[in-house]
Amino acid sequence: MIKALREEVRRLFEEKKVDLVIGWGKGSLPMTATPVFIHKAEDVEQLIWDETCSNNLAVYLTKDKRQLVQTNQKIGIVVKGCDGRSLVLYAVENQIKRENLVIIGVPCNGVIDKKKVLKQTEGKEVLSARFEKERMVVEGRGFKTEITKSDMLSRSCIHCNHPNAPVYDIFIGEPINTDSDVAVYPDVEAFEKLDCETRWKDMVESYSQCIRCYACRNVCPSCYCTECFVDQNDPQWIGKSPEITDTLIFHLNRNLHVAGRCVECGACERACPADIDLLRLNRKISKEILERFNFTAGLDIDEKPALASFCENEKQDFIMG
């Protein structure tokens, strides 16, 4: 698979079809991958693709200070399903031109959440990790354990039903078949069934861990405003200290800003140093938008985001009769 990917990228450079390819390379720590920016054919050996490649690379097209889209004519980008959906979102929102991109799809079976593995080893440092088909072998000072890979998947991958990029130019390997491409939300439904009091307590408990580092916002491919509402000081929407109501309002409003735009790549919660299940609100919103407007973000280049369009005769049961 990696070989095919490298060959394909080498060919793109030789045929002068790209100026830059964004992909994943081996990280300096075990179980990590790092983004690599390849400018010439000789460097393709840096590319890898495995279950550690968790970064959503689409984010480099909008937020990177080097302004890659402006400085490169043609950009090749290696994408999983969710990253591919981010690209579709960018095309819909006129952040990129589809024709200037060469999208290289890879089949994704889910990525590993390093924080989950560290929980498994009780915080002990992992010095090497080896992936076999269904299992991973983790080694460190004085221990060696075997873990089932599916237990270590990032939370966003558990209910994922878009493992392949919806739009691509080249696909490496075979696209993964899914039983259905309609999203399921068993986690959201279970939480909805709890009573009001319990839900509130649970929310406060989990979000009071937030230290407001804004890593979730910085890493989010859908959050690319030049000035975020939390950084504005006139009016100042959000207090600067991590007070719980401010924190909740920050998360609620951030989630509302990405409503109908979130591709559920899970970058936010993998970046979260407090290990908060940040996707829970996004998933509730996605579920609501799917049920009401039959819309899923990042699948169709010709479809406007749910909150940027409307339909005259839609259900309005939440409005007083």
Binding site: E192, K284, L307, I319
Partner: protein, 147 residues
């Protein structure tokens, strides 16, 4: 807050965000027609219900309102043609989201009231006030209140 100290004397404080062209005029009609409705609302006039950022609603709850009522023109009657349709989509997401995190559904309500519906405006305000009175003073998402 003084008002919340004694539960017996507590009166709900409700923010009514009304669109300039329909609901605000509806409230005005209720006034000039001398229709009685509870004095618990504080009116915030906006050019259109589409102007209402969900953040306004979150911030008013945080700053101590017990409830928020947003009212605009009936679908199809928007002065700006589609402002209320866009607003409806925002509210369709905001309302379930607030319920999901455990805010009582009565606290945030939406309605359509036209400039001719003074009677209806009074009904809506009465209904919203009664419902919020039933759920009591807001404690969740309120700054400085331990819940």
């Amino acid at each position: 807050m003084q008002e919340t100290k004694n539960k017996k004397d507590w009166q709900p404080k409700i923010l009514a965000i009304l669109c300039n062209w329909c609901s605000y005029a509806g409230a005005d009609l209720a006034g000039v027609s001398r229709i009685q409705y509870p004095p618990n609302i504080r009116v915030l006039r906006v050019p259109c219900s589409g102007r209402v950022d969900p953040m306004f609603i979150l911030k008013s709850l945080q700053n101590g309102f017990d409830g928020v009522l947003v009212s605009g023109c009936h679908p199809g009657d928007c002065h700006y043609l589609s402002g209320n349709y866009n607003a409806r989509r925002k509210f369709a997401v905001l309302k379930p989201l607030l319920e999901y995190i455990g805010i009582e559904p009565e606290r945030v309500q939406f309605s359509w009231v036209s400039a001719g519906e003074g009677e209806r405006f009074a009904e809506v305000v009465t209904k919203v006030t009664n419902e919020i009175r039933k759920v009591g003073p807001a404690k969740r998402l309120v700054k400085g209140v331990d819940s």
